[in-house]
């Protein structure tokens, strides 16, 4: 069984550019959440999507956006990149939106903004 897959694994972008990160959840999982982990910190919640609708949004600027597709895969977009956006971006999937089902995380996309 494939776990949560994220692409690309590594990415280098220049300040001001835009980036799209992709996530495929575990088969059958309908909820996808995105987290940002900067060095030395724990993951910080960005978005949750369930059944293609946004269910939650963390304290991130409007430069961050996401969507979920009919096949439950998801994309995270970040516009006008800043140096501070350099981080590990984690995608997590679960059967439903609630905590009872637990989350499975992907290995993440390491974004470096130069």
């Amino acid at each position: 069984d494939a776990g949560v897959t994220q692409s690309p694994t590594h990415l280098i972008k220049t300040r001001g550019q835009q980036v799209t990160l992709r996530c495929s959840p575990i088969s059958g999982h309908k909820s996808v959440s995105w987290y940002q982990q900067v060095l030395g910190q724990g993951p910080q919640f960005i978005f949750q999507y369930y059944e293609k609708e946004e269910r939650g949004r963390g304290n991130f600027p409007d430069r961050f956006s996401a969507r979920q597709f009919p096949n439950y895969s998801s994309e995270l977009n970040v516009n006008a990149l800043l140096l501070g956006d350099s981080a590990l971006y984690l995608c997590a999937s679960s059967l439903a939106g609630g905590m009872n089902y637990g989350y499975t995380f992907g290995s993440g996309t390491r974004l470096t903004v130069v």
């Binding site: 030395g40 724990g42 910080q44 919640f45 269910r55 939650g56 939106g97 995380f105 290995s107």
Partner: protein, 115 residues
């Protein structure tokens, strides 16, 4: 201000002994707590969780204790094994508040288990 705090950045334990990782929280609305383990170049892996209606949950070598009055939880690993060496994250959620998708993580504790 951090709502979930792991005040020990690192912990070193001898193989076979007990590892105790601690976590404190400030938000009394948190009703569900989780521990994740993270190896380098991998995503966090779910270990064990506990609901606020319980004070203990056990799964094999892993036990989580919750002290609601102190807003404190701990993860006990007995016996510790070298393969347990990783960064451990404590996370909390306010499910009843509707933020089901929002896990609040601590900064993590790096556990080193020495043979």
């Amino acid at each position: 201000d951090q709502q979930v705090k792991q005040n020990s950045p690192s912990l070193s334990v001898q193989e076979g002994r007990i590892s105790i990782l601690n976590c404190d929280y400030t938000n009394s609305m948190f009703d569900y707590f989780l521990w994740y383990k993270k190896y380098p170049a991998e995503g966090p892996t779910f270990l064990i969780s506990i609901s606020s209606i319980k004070d203990k949950n056990e799964d094999g070598r892993f036990t989580v204790f919750l002290n609601k009055s102190a807003k404190h939880l701990s993860l006990h690993i007995v016996p510790s094994q070298p393969g347990d060496s990783a960064v451990y994250f404590c996370a909390a959620s306010d499910r009843l508040g509707g933020s089901q998708g929002n896990l609040i993580f601590g900064k993590g504790t790096k556990l080193s288990v020495k043979p």
